[in-house]
């Protein structure tokens, strides 16, 4: 979501940059008595004088502006997971670890276990959610083994925060 917001921010900035320069150029051309260059401001001026506020096209225009505003607000209030996790700090400085790289590390710890085909993890504030897949028909205590492996891997990283490990194991059905 952070990346989407940065892309949107770059596009909005680009739109303001291009729009601002175009408006200034059109004003200079207009003051010099020249025709519009790119922005058809003479046609817009005519439309704005001919159409009243209750015209359907005007309503659609305001609805589109409102929808863009609501979409932008929505993008800002979507909760974001932190990109980095803080680890112990001291007088010399601070150390953070990329959240996604921690999730990949914990997933690798799970997939190293015999019987686990693939695994993914999601780090929350107080939990590590693990989704693991096994080809075994009878996984036995595989979920417990995965839990221990992920917990140990997480502990080895010495994070500021302890987290409960919750494993969801999917396996082949018995026939």
């Amino acid at each position: 979501m952070r990346t989407v917001n940065r892309i949107v921010a770059a596009l909005v900035a680009l739109a303001f940059l291009v729009g601002g320069v175009l408006v200034a150029v059109e004003i200079v051309l207009g003051l010099a008595g020249r025709d519009p260059w790119i922005i058809p401001w003479d046609a817009w001026y005519r439309d704005a004088r001919q159409h009243d506020w209750a015209t359907a096209s005007v309503r659609w225009l305001f609805a589109a502006i409102g929808a863009a505003g609501v979409a932008l607000v929505g993008l800002q209030i979507v909760p974001r997971r932190p990109a980095t996790l803080p680890f112990r700090s001291d007088n010399d400085g601070e150390l953070v670890i990329g959240r996604k790289s921690v999730e990949s590390t914990l997933a690798r710890a799970a997939t190293r276990i015999d019987g686990v085909d693939r695994a993914s993890t999601r780090l929350g504030k107080t939990t590590v959610a693990v989704k693991a897949h096994s080809h075994r028909r009878d996984p036995g205590d595989l979920a417990g083994v995965v839990t221990d492996a992920v917990r140990n891997a997480h502990h080895r990283l010495q994070p500021n925060q302890t987290r409960d490990v919750r494993v969801q194991l999917k396996h082949r059905n018995r026939r």
């Binding site: 909005v12 502006i65 607000v73």
Partner: protein, 192 residues
């Protein structure tokens, strides 16, 4: 939330608020919330048109200047998005007298520190960026670290070797580090 994220959220929220306010006013007016007459006035109000006509000697130049100012701010915003991490290219060092000025380019220094870090156990790739040359000097260490390496080994390497090396080179005791670690797959080991 880091500074670029905060800046984007604040700026986009302000723009979104203005858009919603304009749309709300326009829709309320078009549906007659302010009376039937305002709903059937032309979009470009006669009062506004006449006022602009009376003041067009200064109005349009001012609009052009405001548009260029907005474009300039947008350019800075865009550049900040494209280069989120600003770095210090030249560092001013303590001089023996007030008349003297000593400064060094930081490229060679940050490269040397990164090469030192690359030799530490488990470090697969490191880059060093000088963020601020104030008090303290702020340095960002981006390190790709094998996930089978103890984080404390890296912390000790930075605390015992990297930072003292930097302090000695810069002749400044106040160097503060930000270490940003990305854990990576350990390199494959081949038996021969």
């Amino acid at each position: 939330m880091n500074a670029p994220d905060r800046r984007n959220r604040v700026t986009l929220s302000i723009i979104a608020t203005l858009l919603i306010a304009a749309a709300t006013y326009g829709l309320l007016r078009s549906y007659g919330a302010f009376g039937d007459a305002p709903a059937h006035e032309p979009l470009l109000l006669d009062d506004v048109r006449r006022w602009v006509g009376r003041n067009d000697s200064w109005f349009w130049p001012v609009v052009a200047i405001v548009a260029l100012l907005l474009a300039y701010l947008a350019l800075r915003w865009l550049l900040a998005e494209l280069r989120p991490q600003t770095s210090v290219r030249r560092l001013h060092l303590p001089a023996p007298s007030p008349e003297d000025h000593i400064s060094v380019t930081t490229n060679a220094l940050t490269r040397a520190i990164a090469e030192d870090l690359n030799r530490e156990p488990g470090v697969q790739h490191a880059t060093v960026t000088l963020l601020d040359d104030g008090h303290p000097i702020e340095v960002l260490l981006d390190v790709d670290l094998s996930d089978d390496t103890q984080i404390d080994l890296l912390r000790d390497a930075v605390r015992l070797r990297t930072l003292p090396h930097l302090r000695e080179t810069l002749e400044r005791p106040d160097v503060h580090s930000h270490i940003r670690v990305k854990l990576t797959t350990p390199p494959a080991r081949h038996l021969q």
